[in-house]
């Protein structure tokens, strides 16, 4: 096209391993190494460069989930093992992200069930896992200890660390060799600060994934996009504290007004389009992991990424 694609960048994004196969000490069918970029996404025609990983988000208590998804998926949402299995075999996701919504019940105390759920999901799918722990600081310590333990050896990705609340996740990641999602509220400096805090506590650079916080399209996504761009530019210019892969999950996509108020007949279509457009934009801004909740969004993203990545259709595996 005649553009000069040499920007004189010196930095590269850290490589993070997600999932571990049998030979790597885990039980996953496949594992991924994401990161390693030296330029912006979809510019380089380098063999082996992977397109973003598409992750299906599921949960262990569907009461806290969008009815659009639970209606579409049906009964399987009551069995997280089955849901995870379908994510791999039916919906074609690259990874599964399990939200432990069961811990959101008031006065939740059945910590042992967290371990059981994770084991069920691990046996339901051979894909690498992302685990989202509790929403309640009081039980963080116990929940993350259990998460770390239950997935020992599996190189899971644990979420979500924030500036005021990262110690338990960091401890679980360090004790059981998992990686950490570090979330900051759409701000490049706060993202960097959190990464430094994690580094100080002992989490190594290749175990951190940045979550810049993703607003949904039309509801703040432009701020997220700008924050992601700035994070990635700083990283490529050589700021090691920002040179980590990015994860995006625009969870508000299914609850925006336009989706909520659409005609029942096209509700799914609108929801999927909203997720798709947000996810595609996030990938273009540089995200390596795109999370969605509606299974129908997955093939759309897959096709779009394929058209942007010559000779490369599937995620980490193809």
């Amino acid at each position: 096209m005649g553009f000069d694609l040499n920007f004189g960048w010196s930095g590269s994004i850290a490589c993070v391993q997600l999932g571990a196969t049998k030979s790597e000490g885990g039980t996953r069918r496949i594992s991924y190494r994401i990161g390693g970029e030296k330029t912006l996404p979809f510019l380089e025609k380098i063999q082996g460069s992977s397109s973003p990983l598409i992750t299906l988000e599921i949960c262990d208590n569907p009461q806290y989930w969008s009815p659009i998804v639970t209606n579409y998926c049906g009964d399987m949402v009551h069995n997280s093992g089955e849901w995870a299995h379908a994510a791999e075999t039916v919906y074609g996701a690259d990874m599964v992200r399990l939200y432990l919504t069961s811990t959101r019940k008031r006065d939740f105390s059945d910590i042992a069930s967290v371990g059981t759920t994770i084991e069920t999901v691990l046996s339901g799918t051979g894909l690498p896992l992302i685990i989202e722990g509790s929403n309640e600081p009081k039980i963080d310590s116990e929940v993350f200890l259990k998460c770390g333990e239950a997935g020992q050896g599996e190189r899971m990705l644990l979420g979500t660390a924030e500036a005021g609340r990262y110690r338990s996740i960091a401890a679980a990641a360090m004790a059981y060799d998992h990686s950490v999602i570090a979330q900051s509220p759409i701000d490049v400096n706060l993202a960097k600060q959190l990464n430094i805090l994690l580094k100080e506590i002992g989490v190594s650079r290749d175990h951190i994934i940045i979550d810049p916080y993703t607003g949904s399209l039309g509801y703040g996504f432009e701020y997220s996009y700008s924050a992601m761009e700035r994070i990635r530019f700083s990283a490529l210019k050589g700021d090691a504290d920002l040179a980590m892969p990015i994860i995006c999950s625009a969870i508000d996509s299914l609850t925006v007004k336009e989706v909520r108020e659409s005609e029942p007949a096209i509700l799914d279509d609108i929801a999927v389009q909203w997720e798709f457009t947000t996810g595609l934009a996030a990938a273009i801004a540089g995200a390596e992991i795109i999370c969605v909740r509606h299974p129908r969004t997955i093939p759309l993203l897959r096709k779009a990424f394929g058209s942007l990545t010559p000779g490369k259709i599937a995620g980490g595996e193809g």
């Binding site: 200890l145 960091a170 401890a171 360090m174 004790a175 600060q193 210019k237």
Partner: protein, 676 residues
Amino acid sequence: MTDVELALKKGKDSLKSAMATIQGTFSYEDTAYHLPISYALTGIAVHDRTASLDVFSRTQDNSLVASEIILAKKTAQDGKKVLPYTGFIADTVIRKLGYSLVDGSILGLALIVGTPQSDGTAAAICRELQEKYMLTFLAGPVVPSLSSAGVKLGLDYRLIPLGSDALHGVHFVDIIARVAMMFGGVTPGDMHRLLTYAAERAKAIVIALPGLSEEEIALVDGMRVLGFPILTLGEYSGGAWITATPEDIVRTGMELKGIRVTVTAIPIPMGCSPAFEGKSIRKEEMYVEFGGGRSPAFELLRMKNAGEIKDGQVTVIGPEIDSMTEGSANPLAIIIEVAGKTMKKDYEPVLERRIHNFVNYGEGSWHVAQRDLIWVRLSKEAVAKGVKIEHIGKLLASKFRMDFPQLLDAVSVTLITDGEKVLAARKEAERVYEERDARIRGMRDNDVNTYYSCTLCQTFAPNHVCVITPERPALCGAISWLDGKIAYEMSPAGANQPIEKGPVINARNGEFEGVNRFVKKASHGEVDRCSLYSVMEYPMTCCGCFECIALMLPEVNGIMIVNREFKGLTPSGMSFSTLAGTIGGGAQTPGFAGISKGYILSDRFLQGDGGIGRLVWMPAQLKEELKPRLVKILADRNMPDLFDKIADETSAATIEDLMVYLNTVQHPALKMKPLV
């Protein structure tokens, strides 16, 4: 009384001769780290005599290594420890334990060895360790002593009985060695890394009770190399062991290792949150008040040595709330004493300023102004709920500890309500205020090599970088150089970073290589140069928070200032808000600069553009506000008549009026070298 030095020598000798007799093979189950101390130090897996002797000599006859090998051999012979003792602890348990340390649910580790003089002593020490979130390991006769005092033992109680002899204390070290390898990135054999980790990261203390044998003394003393303080109750003399009383042995140990208990709840009968900060307590809602011109009142925060204050202590001298008449004004002195390893005298005024916020956090307490001008009220509602003067002290003591955990180890508060005693104490406070003023007044940009940045506003002004110097506070006026320095020390990864100013590029404009380098990086490559003292060439970027805007007026060859409070049009033809919209957002706009009010009074003000003689206009209200100090400064600089020559909206509302006015008063700017 045991002489440590003497015992140490003999103990080392007998460990050495015991090592000579080591035979057979031995190993622990449930670990991937062999004999963890030996493995961490040398990278060698010890299971027999040859490896034992090799490691012992490689570590220069280290008594920790010797004890570890002797105990491993003994364990292999005698079999596993029986309950309640744990003996060697498996890796899986250590992993959980390391988790709790990183996670913060355990603050640190303690080892108690030896024989307590009474069951009560050991029980009291253990209770204090439990209360302070320490995980305590026990070895030797201290275990049965605690059991007979009815103390429950086990992981759930954070009291772990390792074994029946003090020698089992070696497991304390093998646990730390494994934590270092699992969590600290220490590779087996990297002795230097291990020692650094143990000294800097492992929060561990050792309490040595009486009755240790010479070998056991050698073992315990060996732990000093890991940076653990060895504390005793005075039965040991000589050596580097520290003597303390049963009451302060835990506190002393924790302070020596910098282990801090974080305060999470404030024990007072009213809410306490920043949410209440903005409320006011009107006269009719007020139960009592202090100061505000109605009674003498002041506040003072001072630094003390750690030993001089008792953390959390609150003392009220004089009448309590119940003997005060409703609606009355009473005398009050708030005296806060703080101690901390990294605390410095320079921080006193900055911390003292927080009293204002903290008192206002109270649902029923209110505070305005500072120093000896304070005005404090307590509401009827709060007093009805049981709030007393004492609770204000508790609130302050807790909040200071909560908000400055890295800086402060101990905070005590004294509240005086006795009129005469308040007046007496105020004399000392006034002396301190004067001393502080003199110190700040004396600070010049040339006196320091480091300035501080502020990028707090990058959330909305993405490329803005404030450079804060002693003479040029942040453009918002809220952060002085000292504030920046303290903020950095308290939060090293935060928005205030040190800037080495580096070689001078242009002394007059205040341009430095180091500052330029920093600004380029912090502005994400957008801004290459920054002159600290010029509005015209490479001025600092502006976020949007500036107290004032300084801008050039080419028609009159001068510079005007407008402050945020001024609502009218300025001679530039624009209002403050129009100007702010033009220059804000992180841009560098030659001819315009956002500044703080304090900067106007500094010697550096407009230095690059010809000095304060360039100043031709500012709003009357700002002029009035600065008058007392500005008049004095101008007199000192031999420009006694300049103050009256600076126009305001009453003397010159438009640029035409301003030209006429400046000519009439013969303003010096007219004769200066052209601005553009």
